[in-house]
């Protein structure tokens, strides 16, 4: 209704009928084009879900779901094969937790500096540079982790090998940093100037203003930034495949070699014959991964909504 009313309001009495019809036709075409685009996203999402369910669910007839999830042994090429994905799940948990713990303080701090403290010239140079970091291919990050970081981690933490969840997590934090910085900085800059001016007028220092006015004001955006970072860490494949070490034990600490879920899928799917047991089991891991990221996004949505309401009140 509203869309149809808008062009009508602009149109003046001098506008001929045919011109108005043409205008409306163009509007209609663009509207349906946009509608189709919106629909496409939903179709793709549903298609992915259907594919994962169709290929993944049969795995649970061979291994019952609880055994599949809580089982700690994964021997896909043995006879008979065993599928228990607990080691991968715990590995994904460690890598995501540690990388988020590293990236969030640095990322938010960096964003606060850029938005609140840095002179315009510094911001204009540093922000594009940080965003450039996001453009580094993950295989290059994996290579850097392999050649440079893993020996450092090994000697710093006195480990048996530098190929560990920790090394992967540090590389992942580098990769999620640009997203966190960029999105949080935008959120911080969106906080109205008047808020800060009011804080300064009350005698608050710069730090007090950032801590009590800017960051709470931009919290919804910052939460969104962190969630995007978490999503990146859960889903990243190449880097963890290269540097996480790929051991099949359930990792008891992040410093052990481990194989996160994405790496397990990537390293197994190549030799999985279509429709075979291993193929189905890997799709089942994919399905669980999909459910995990969906949950993260839903929680993020809920938090965002609540935060917004609190802020506007």
């Amino acid at each position: 209704m509203l869309q149809r009313g808008a062009p009508g309001a602009i149109a003046t009495a001098s506008l001929t009928k045919s011109l108005r019809r043409r205008w409306r036709l163009g509007e209609r075409a663009i509207e349906s084009w946009i509608f189709l685009n919106g629909l496409l996203a939903v179709v793709v999402l549903l298609g992915v879900l259907v594919l994962l369910l169709r290929e993944g669910l049969p795995a649970f007839t061979y291994t019952p779901p609880w055994k599949f999830f809580f089982g700690t042994e994964w021997y896909p090429v043995s006879d008979p094969p065993t599928f228990g994905m607990m080691p991968f799940f715990v590995a994904t948990f460690w890598v995501t937790l540690v990388s988020t713990a590293i990236a969030v303080p640095i990322g938010v701090g960096c964003a606060a500096y850029l938005a609140e403290v840095a002179p315009a010239k510094v911001r204009e140079t540093v922000k594009p540079l940080i965003e450039l970091l996001a453009g580094i291919p993950s295989v290059v990050m994996g290579f850097i982790g392999l050649m440079l970081l893993s020996p450092l981690v090994q000697s710093a933490f006195n480990l048996n090998t530098g190929l560990s969840g920790l090394t992967a997590a540090i590389m992942l934090s580098m990769m999620s940093l640009p997203i966190i910085v960029s999105v949080s900085e935008d959120a911080l800059r969106a906080v109205p100037k008047e808020f800060r001016e009011a804080a300064y007028a009350l005698g608050a220092t710069k730090w007090e203003t950032i801590r009590h006015v800017s960051i709470p004001g931009a919290l919804s955006g910052i939460v969104a930034a962190v969630m995007l970072g978490v999503g990146r860490a859960i889903g990243e494949t190449m880097t963890v495949l290269m540097v996480a070490g790929g051991a099949l034990a359930v990792p008891l600490s992040p410093t052990e070699p481990m194989m996160p879920m994405t790496a397990a899928i990537a390293s197994g799917i190549g030799n999985a014959v279509r429709g075979g047991l291993q193929y189905q089991a890997l799709f089942a891991i994919g399905l669980i991964l999909f459910i995990m990221t969906l949950t993260v996004n839903l929680i993020a949505d809920r938090v965002l909504e609540r935060q917004k309401r609190k802020f506007t009140r």
């Binding site: 043995s78 204009e124 090998t161 051991a247 099949l248 990537a266 197994g268 190549g270 075979g276």
Partner: protein, 308 residues
């Protein structure tokens, strides 16, 4: 400040785009330029095919493919080496012309192939002495198959238990895509052909499963406690191959072309190509080249063992 940088960024982008387009056009010209003269011998061979599979065989296949494409400019060969399992799966799924493998296809895989209407045809192309390597600073110089099995199942975890200095053993293996992973599991971890053979043995859960042979070799060059099993072709002077004893009182044998040929090295294995049915046309020409004296000479160059 803002508009200026934005404009600059735009200009920069434009420059990058122009360069990219220029490069693409240039590449297009270059691609169409070398029209092979019809009189050159062998130019009647043309076509393109794919070889997917073993990471171990890849350096050899890549060299052969390069030479073959140089001799026959109209032939195009794509080689990739994610692992034997990948190659065999690709053959079964009908997505490759040749599967290169460092292990034999299993009976189950033959069945799957036949179910898809594919008749795997096996060709032995070279022999590999699977070498077990450690860091050059490691004092251990020989191991028995049983000791290797105990290391890879996680029963032995310290180098001093096998005569080395005190230090944790970091056992490195290839991931499950790898033919070497499967071959090593059967012949070393499960000790196939020995009186102590035990088919229930599996790699220990602390073993590192790495996605490529190169990565394992890199880790061994950096880590004094690591042990890994690359093909003979990957052995350099930065890593130390161990002499292997079939049993405790058998002689210790270092991996080499000679010991693999006379059968004294315990973990030598054939390197294989699989095609769908007997090869024909350009693929047959390629495989004939691989098996020719000239092709087999390349085998030794890469560090594997020629047939005969």
């Amino acid at each position: 400040m803002r508009p200026k940088t934005a404009k600059m960024r735009k200009r920069w982008l434009l420059a990058a785009l122009t360069t990219a387009i220029g490069l693409i056009v240039l590449a297009g010209c270059a691609g169409s330029a070398p029209a092979p003269s019809p009189t050159s011998p062998g130019s009647e061979l043309s076509g393109s095919f794919k070889i997917i599979g073993s990471n171990t065989v890849t350096p050899l296949t890549a060299l052969w493919a390069e030479e073959f494409m140089r001799m026959h400019p109209k032939v195009n060969i794509a080689v990739s080496g994610p692992g034997s399992g990948v190659g065999i799966a690709a053959l079964i799924n009908g997505t490759t012309d040749i599967a290169q493998a460092s292990r034999k296809m299993k009976a189950k895989e033959f069945d799957q192939a036949r179910a898809n209407g594919i008749e795997p045809y096996e060709i032995e192309i070279a022999i590999d002495a699977l070498s077990v390597v450690v860091h050059p600073s490691n004092p251990v110089s020989e191991l028995t198959i049983a000791q290797l099995s105990a290391i890879y199942t996680g029963q032995i975890t310290n180098w001093k238990e096998v005569g080395g200095s005190d230090g944790p053993i970091v056992a490195i293996a290839r991931d499950t895509n790898s033919g070497t992973h499967v071959f090593f599991k059967e012949h070393v971890v499960q000790m196939k052909g020995l009186p102590t053979e035990d088919k229930s043995l599996e790699y220990g859960s602390k073993v590192l499963l790495l996605p490529s042979t190169e990565e394992g070799v890199t880790e061994v060059t950096k880590n004094p406690n690591a042990i890994f099993y690359p093909g003979l072709g990957y052995v350099t002077d930065k890593i130390k191959p161990l002499a292997i004893k079939r049993t405790a009182d058998a002689p210790a044998v270092l991996p080499s072309v000679a010991t693999a040929l006379d059968g004294s090295y315990p973990i030598a294995r054939p390197l294989l190509y699989y095609t769908n049915g007997e090869p024909t046309g350009v693929i047959k020409a390629f495989i004939d080249y691989c098996l020719s004296p000239e092709g087999q000479q390349k085998v030794a160059e890469v560090g594997y063992v020629p047939l005969e």
